[in-house]
Symmetry: C2
Subunit: 163 residues, 2 copies
């Protein structure tokens, strides 16, 4: 085992801190890159961080509507596109939904553990998984460009609850 960088937070963790830290990291990164974290983009990122469960695009849309002027789909999709390009957000393919990136800064394809009970999604980065994938691809002479690794199951908290 190597390189697990995020984990399932306890339900009572300091979530305000999560959000604040994610936003300040994002601001720093964008500033450093000359990328513009505009109000809409910032708001979308903030919403995504308000829970550890992926948000669908239209769910974000509704949430934005409640807070701001009426927002149309392209606005949300553009914000998501920007945030993904900056490595601040990942798309969860099996859910058609989006989560804040737990380790922004360096480009990476996330690996995700998704709880089918509560929806909470943990981003991991296992060097072993990476290595195994590269090996397998290599064996077929396949040149890897990006990976989608999404594991569905039961998170520790939901399992505890079921006992």
């Amino acid at each position: 085992m190597a390189g697990v960088a995020s984990s399932f937070q306890r339900p009572d963790h300091d979530h305000v801190h999560c959000v604040a830290e994610a936003l300040s990291k994002a601001e720093a990164l964008c500033r450093a890159r000359g990328a513009r974290l505009t109000p809409i983009r910032r708001k979308v990122l903030e919403l995504l961080w308000q829970r550890h469960e992926p948000f669908g695009a239209y769910e974000l849309l509704k949430a934005l509507d409640r807070e701001e002027a009426r927002v149309m789909p392209p606005t949300v999709y553009r914000a998501l596109e920007f945030l993904q390009a900056q490595g601040l957000v990942h798309r969860i393919e099996v859910r058609n939904a989006y989560v804040g990136c737990a380790q922004p800064g360096r480009p990476h394809a996330g690996q995700f553990l998704i709880c089918k009970e509560c929806g909470v999604t943990a981003e991991i980065q296992s060097a072993n998984v990476d290595a195994a994938l590269l090996d397998a691809a290599d064996a077929l002479d396949f040149k890897v460009e990006s990976q989608t690794v999404e594991i569905t199951g039961i998170c520790p908290h939901c399992r505890d609850e079921k006992i």
Copy 2:
């Protein structure tokens, strides 16, 4: 490296044989299980096998229209649902599309190498990838139920062409 069970076929491989074998395996499996491989289901499976690139549901719909009476979306989605339940077809999440399963018979979540140039998709089953994923999940006390592993990149044939 262990357990790679499919690979990128040469463009000139005996494709008729691919299709015939997949269909006869499917028939045998369904017969053994008392599952009904009806004409529509069989046709969908056959279409999927007619190439090694995933088919979108509406693409299947068009293909069916050309051959049979007019077919509606639920018909295709039901056939796909059945075929997936029987382990004869996999869904490729990053494409919203479907491919025939290279190793039907035992239940498994496929691992896929998807060529971004030609779309050809190879199903693999790397024991190392499985083990690494289980390890990583275990470390977070996460109980795995299913996996989605989709690697995008360049297949050997497309890479050769580019030289």
